[in-house]
Symmetry: C2
Subunit: 203 residues, 2 copies
């Protein structure tokens, strides 16, 4: 059996080191944000040798990028509820919870900041959201098949439109977000989707 | 007449220094982003003494914050067209143009990055968008008065919903934006607003 360094089985030393380092990264991001992220501090927090952290992750951008990949892997697709409004509210609530959770919210903000100045971080961020959008869009497709929405509805754009007002307030206009903002997003998207505004070349 | 240092009349030396420094800041942001912004480089580019730049702006966050204030001052409210759809398309197009203009787009991305890690930058960003949202919301209020939208429509939220999908793609999911994305935002918001989804406690 050919086992290269860095590809040991899940649960092995390599996986444990990665878990400790990514946990430490999330903690540090929650406390100091992206600009306060230093490799030495992460190595200390994780109880891992500095050489290992530098060799494997290279720098703060490498840490953020790997953290995004790990978060994407851990994001699980739930079964649909069979009701579009309930599905969209679940989606909006999951976005609200992620952005307002102290550690995860800070991680998302740090990822967004890193992406503004680094192409690799931007590509990782894009992959992270493309995957989430695709998973949730399947529920919208099912609603189209059930006849809840017009044929030709752009399901990915429906999902983007649920997240967008929450991210806009949290990241751009810097306004508070709560369950009313999430409910408004659902009401707006549902009304527009039912009216055919998400149908390509039709709205 | 009592003229304190730093409050000379517009067009005086203080204003010229500020203009040169903020121009240099936008150039540097367009080339290297927020993380590459250094005070020495800005002083060199602007042809201004380093001592002056350090004394007046303190650091990169001070430069970004002042740049935001300047951009907010220069953002002018246009007369409304008398037609809500045309007003919203003008708004969406102005957001699209800002985000895709090389220098201004990079400045907005840098401001967003700075706000993730600095409270003063976050407050300045909030002020910048609050002012823009308020100016455009007036046009939506006029449409409500004309009877184009239901009474009680949350005009500020209508405007946020126009910007949100453009910023979501440009800053969060890192997807391209173009006039189709802007047109979709207008179609979605108009359909939802007409259906009453932006009416408080009513949607």
């Amino acid at each position: 059996m050919d086992v290269s360094p860095g590809t040991l089985r899940p649960g092995g030393r390599t996986a444990r080191v990665r878990e400790a380092v990514l946990e430490a990264t999330q903690d540090a991001l929650g406390e100091h944000g992206f600009h306060g992220l230093t490799m030495d501090q992460i190595a200390d927090r994780a109880g891992v040798g500095k050489t290992t952290v530098y060799r494997r992750w290279g720098g703060p951008i490498g840490l953020i990028t790997d953290l995004m990949a790990d978060l994407a892997d851990r994001s699980v697709a739930h079964a649909d509820t069979g009701d579009l409004e309930a599905d969209l509210l679940e989606n909006a609530t999951s976005v609200l919870d992620a952005l307002t959770a102290p550690r995860l919210g800070a991680t998302l903000q740090a990822m967004i900041a890193a992406a503004t100045c680094d192409d690799a971080a931007a590509a990782a961020l894009h992959q992270f959201y493309a995957r989430r959008i695709g998973e949730w869009a399947r529920r919208v497709d099912l609603a189209v098949h059930r006849g809840e929405l017009p044929p030709g509805t752009d399901s990915a754009d429906v999902i983007r439109a649920i997240s967008a007002p929450l991210y806009y307030r949290a990241v751009v206009s810097r306004e508070p977000i709560d369950s009313r903002v999430a409910a408004r997003a659902v009401a707006v998207v549902l009304a527009a989707a039912r009216a055919g505004a998400f149908v390509d070349d039709g709205g």
